[in-house]
């Protein structure tokens, strides 16, 4: 039964059918892809929901997370953000844009020698706090920085 399902999934892989099947809750994507998409966290409409979704419900403020982002972003469509954690045992980092419709932007897990550091570009709908959350030894830590946006990046 399981084998049949796998074959079916592979066959559908290149079409939109797979996404439709996942959306309908018929199939779980975990078996097909190496990384599982954390739908709950990424589709959360507020920061609290996103934090909870990644297992970091109430992160403690930490000065050991280095978050760099511009003070003012002229174009909210591309805001360069760099996060790095100096907390020993950091296994994952997440980046949130608090006032975006869905705050969680990205979540990274560091394995096999990867240093807890990441650079990415995010979209910002408006001036907001950017929050970087680090997970280390089962605990959550956070740092934040406000970025002023003069032109939003999520609208038309």
């Amino acid at each position: 039964m399981d084998a049949t399902r796998r074959t079916l999934l592979r066959g559908m892989g290149s079409t939109g059918l797979l996404a439709a099947a996942i959306a309908a809750g018929v199939l779980k994507p975990t078996r097909v892809f190496a990384a599982e998409y954390n739908k709950v966290a990424f589709e959360a409409k507020d920061l609290a929901g996103g934090l909870k979704g990644i297992g970091a419900a109430s992160p403690a403020e930490s000065k050991d997370i280095v978050l760099s982002a511009p003070e003012i972003a002229e174009n909210g469509a591309v805001v360069s953000v760099t996060v790095a954690s100096k907390i020993p045992g950091t296994s994952a980092l997440a980046v949130f844009v608090e006032k975006n419709p869905m705050p969680l932007s990205a979540h990274f897990q560091f394995l096999n020698g990867a240093l807890p550091e990441a650079r990415l570009n995010v979209k910002m709908s408006q001036t907001s706090l950017i929050k970087a959350v680090a997970l280390a030894n089962g605990k959550a830590y956070m740092a934040q920085k406000e970025v002023k946006v003069t032109m939003g990046g999520c609208g038309g």
């Binding site: 979540h107 570009n121 979209k123 609208g155």
Partner: protein, 103 residues
Amino acid sequence: MADPMKIRATASGDVCEIKVLMSHPMETGQRKESDGKIVPAHFIQTFTIAVNGKTVIDAGTGTSVSRNPVFGFKVKGPKAGDKVTVSWVDNLGDKRTDEATVA
């Protein structure tokens, strides 16, 4: 099928810097065309980076990652000649894998 990624991996001393540029529209599903129709969401949901077959980065991305995403990471250990493989999957089930060699 999406365009190839650009992957640059440079080892200096003990640490290898990996930069990836993915070619993807990253549509949020909230943007409207001039005729008022919503552009359907189309964005990368997960990607992994492996060095010589061993996963080093396992990532999830939401709609708020910029169009044509650029990511930068640092990994301890890789040497010149090692193989870096990056794979992504988007919300429509489209996927792409590209390789590069550590310089």
